[in-house]
Amino acid sequence: MRAYARAEAPREACGIIIGSAPAASGGVPLRWIPTTNVLASSTLYEIDSAQLLRISIDADDAGEFIWGIVHSHVASPAVPSITDTSVAGYPDALYLLVSLSPSQTAPGGEPGIRAWWIVDRSATEVRLHLQR
């Protein structure tokens, strides 16, 4: 996710994490799928609708779920913006934000990653335990 965010900069990067159940239901994340930001913007993202359809249907047919929705902020903290909270439509998935801002680096100098529930336009942070 971090490598993809770096590779896509200065555009915002985005992608989907498929899980055994939605994150809010205690699902286990299974795989990360990078996707195309059709807005190709440094401040906005939208996952390509054709990719979203294929990924969603494939997961549903396999009994898997949208576990997480990932995007990067290239110059601001890994905190959901008003845009993020107003558009968010998956209250049972984790929204993971990767920040490329130098002020947001994790220990070791990697881009910071923070996770949020976004429900009814309100964001609540979730503590992440990242494993390599």
């Binding site: 401040t43 549903d60 290239v74 601001s76 913006s81 993020d84």
Partner: protein, 99 residues
Amino acid sequence: MSISVRIPPVLRTQTGGAKLVSVDGASLGAVLTALTAAHPDLREQIFEADGTLRRWVNVYVDGADVRHLAGLETPTQDGIEVVILPAMAGGAPSLFRLR
């Protein structure tokens, strides 16, 4: 005319758990109106207050994004499948705000 609408897991609480909902309608607008009449909790996910298609919902007719077809005017025929998915979108703090 019976059109099958596939509901994603994230919206199934609004359809009583149903994955597929069959409704009648000769256009996408008629199909979605019938769907939201049967399942009113879906309405704000699909329509703006003025009845236009919400910007942040993706609707597909036989796999094609209706934004690239005729939107709510897209004709529908027996046997097609409609899929509804909340968009995945957003962005960084900016002077430009999405609706």
